[in-house]
Amino acid sequence: MSGANRIPGAGRLTPAKTARFFFDGKSYAALEGDTVASALLANGVHLVGRSFKYHRPRGIVSAGAEEPNALIGVERDAARKQPNVRATVQDVFDGMKVISQNRWPSLAFDVGAVNNILAPFFAAGFYYKTFMWPKQAWKHVYEPQIRAAAGLGVSPTEDDTDHYSSRYAHCDVLVIGAGVAGLSAALAAAKTGARVIICDEQPEVGGALHYDKSVTIDGQDGFTWAQATAAKLARMENVKVLPRTTAFGYYAQNFVGLNERVTEHLAKPDRKLPRERLWQVRAKRVIIATGAIERHMVFANNDRPGIMLASAARTFLNHFGVAVGKKVGVYTANDSAYEAAFDLKRAGVTIAAIVDSREQPGEGVLTEARSLGIEVLTGHGVVDTGGKLRISSMSVARNGGGAARKIAIDALLMSAGWTPSVHMFSQSRGKVAYDNETQRFLPGTYAQDCLSVGACNGTNDLQATIEESLAAGELMSNASGFTASEKLALQGANAFAWTGGMAGAAEGAGPDTTVKAFIDFQNDVCAKDIRLAVREGMHSIEHIKRFTTNGMATDQGKLSNIHGLAIAAETLGREIPKVGLTTFRAPYTPVTFGTLINHSRGDLFDPTRKTPMHALEEAQGAVFEDVGQWKRAWYYPRAGEDMHQAVNRECKTVRDVAGIFDASTLGKIEVVGPDAAQFLNLIYTNSWDTLKAGRCRYGIMLREDGFVYDDGVVGRMAEDRFHVTTTTGGAARVMNHMEDYLQTEFPHLNVWLTSATEQWAVIAVQGPKAREIIAPLVEGIDLSNEAFPHMSVREGRICGVPTRLFRMSFTGELGFEVNVPADFGPAIWEAIRAEAEPLGACTYGTETMHVLRAEKGYIIVGQDTDGTVTPDDASLGWAVGKKKPDFVGIRGLRRPDLVADGRKQLVGLLTKDPTVVLEEGAQIVADPNQALPMTMIGHVTSAYWSENCGRSIALALVAGGKAKIGQTLYVPMPDKTIAVEVSDMVFFDKEGGRING
């Protein structure tokens, strides 16, 4: 037996297909197809959680995604745990572990329940008014305590071992919701040949047909019709049917996020399958068929376990075969709840009484109740309930007062009417309109290409829903260019036409009362809290929401919004539409981080870019550093070496013998066309007309404001072809910067840009023996100083493959940069090493490159400059063409501040104690004994130990720095003050002779 409350013959589950699961360690029986909620109820378990603030015992309220109370944790193993799962939407699977939340030490005995007794101190706005003093206590006492006591569920501490998928999808018509309305609309749309996606949050399609057994469509039982229709749709090429898939967010231009739960219901999921799949759907048209959500009644102590929505009880009975009680009361302001009583009564459950706040219920339901022998108390209200961990009685009184009659019950069903589910419509930025007649907010002004149909559009009648939906399906397809060959028609019938409903506090919970009549179960908000908020001066519904937390967090006001609004309106003495509705926000129900992140984990978090020679460098033991997305060899430690020793050795070796360096990440842009030089004249400060083919020049690029943007060596390959290099980090933005000017400011120029960064593997060979190393490998290029001077470029072959060979240096040594097509990089790297290492040369990494260039005072844009440095500030004024009529930044350079005295200028710093290495970023002062706060006159931009100089060296930006050369300045550090002497920027080979070998 799968639970004592399972009624033989009732429901749609198969009795033979059983499963077992654990709730707080205790084993229970269930049937395949059960939700955790239905299985617990089948076993008579109503108490499933404790409330957020007061820790009151709470039970299952609904049978769907609107569930505010029954939030559980689901555990597969230590890593796969999910908190805050709605028990009403989570399928049971065999062996499943379910944990209740927000209770300690146990669900039945919860210490936190003392909050319920102290409730008068926890009124709305409580957090805002208390815990304000003393200030320090917030951080150290109050916040940790509150965080421990409040909150729902516990997140897992281990990495998620599941994986998640994502895909973009396009369709002509997206249908959200697969009840009668959604299925009808999808059917009509699909018949036109339009591409249709239909999704529904439940495991099976059908929506309200889960509980409304009285419906027939096309002569079939409604639920059977729904399954057959979904199956028919699924077989069509142009249709995708997605059950267990929640449309959680509706964004601009019909971009809708769907969350498909792929394996969450399976006992042993195929680990190859993603746990969840994110669908990013772009739909030409959207049909919203999200139905309506039943509202609860707001009365004293309306939150005891066993009190639930009438439609939920009907779902548990008609779909899951579970009776929610043995002696059931009904409290309603609406006809639909009667049908729950009728179904239960016919299934053999005692109906204690139907309490109807209205004097005049619908005639049809009243007659049926009489014929079934059910007592109906019209014009009455439930003014209180009894029971500790489950409801045991309801107190019923005539409207307007009088003696209460206590009726013993073990479940109470309630309905205050139906709220059209306008969440998706509202998220689409459509404006809802209040319908005075039915007292509902309905879709009003549409902001996007979508249509609402069925209950979410306020259409109650079944046949009207079908017709409206079929028409919408066709209309939306027509708009995408598809037409139907035949008109679809479907006939639907159900038992009763529903009327009635109320919003706000019911009998006994009015303005003069202090009872706990909950409107938002999840956030523990009572009717009186809304009134308090208004009294405290909150007059905007958005303020009331935030003051009381009504409808916040994961709940998004599914049950509570309309009640809260009605009470606020009443208290404010204004009409409901004048108070306005709060904004519905995405997500409709919570979405896991896994789904949102999907593929972007681990190696796929961000691209990792490696140079062609990476594997060889790795094999050689290189340590890598991240430079943007690139991995660059940082240094190459040999056995027993730490970083410092390795870098010192590499620095010495390059200057004494030679070094080999992977420079492939440098940005490369091919600038081609008859106007190439003219274009570069405008982009760089330098002049390019005079540069002959085969020669190179160091170029500086400014922004229009006059500050240094990037730098690099440019080689002229031919009259109309330049090989431009950029900094590694600047490659993409420099390309964009150049394209921007070319396309929008200088479109008249005949020149084109192509990124060639990755076409070339670049191997720098630097040092006195550089020529000796490459000479045996190079063909067709005279490497002599005379034929191939410093700052030249030649095309030839190396090891038989074509090369662009640059004679250039970022070390101050004789140097070459060998460019070869990238696939050849590894072979050439190995060939060069084979020549170099017998001579005593070595490979070196970026750290050594940094030290060597600093020894020569070569700047690194972005390290020694920070976006406020001019060429003059960096002693690069020589590179600015004085006679040029125009270049980007020419006017910016002449701004008064850029030519004023006292600008920060790049200079060298020599510590008085040569063994002390400064810290990059350290501040510089003129007088270390001045009062705090000191006047800072600059900062250190680069600082290294220079093995070649036998001392520390540094570069710094110092106000009026060039005039301070020779002066002593100070770098205050936490533990000492370091005295430094200002110097020029060149620390090694000041004459610069080494560059010629």
């Binding site: 601009a252 231009q253 990013q280 772009r282 007059h539 519904i541 306005g580 921007d740 396309q743 910016g892």
Partner: protein
């Protein structure tokens, strides 16, 4: 995520392929060196940051690579039109829909509540 009509690719593409590139219709003066400080300030630094209709540049960076111009409403986030670089501003009267849907803002809600 927006769809943006690229006037060069002649179809709407996902915002993911595009990058915004600042205000449109600010031509770089040809007489840069003759500009006064005030003129340079106005050209380079001063922007209106309008609430409502704005003209801005976009680049179809991960598409055709072209820079183009767009008229966009900064309140509703809607693109009213896009057009090729170098074309003049489109006629404003043809851009605005006859009945402009009001956008619900916090200020609106607040003033309503008062």
């Amino acid at each position: 995520m927006l769809l943006i009509y690229c006037p060069y690719c002649e179809e709407e593409r996902s915002e993911l392929e595009f990058r915004q590139a600042g205000d449109a219709h600010i031509a770089r003066p040809t007489n840069m060196t003759e500009m006064t400080d005030e003129e340079f300030e106005a050209f380079f630094f001063l922007r209106d940051n309008v609430k409502g209709l704005t003209f801005e540049r976009w680049r179809h960076l991960n598409g055709c690579g072209r820079f183009f111009n767009a008229a966009r409403d900064t309140v509703s986030d809607k693109f009213l039109t896009t057009y090729k670089a170098g074309l003049p501003k489109p006629d404003l009267s043809t851009l605005r829909p006859a009945t402009e849907a009001t956008v619900e803002t916090y200020e609106a809600t607040e003033s309503d509540a008062k």
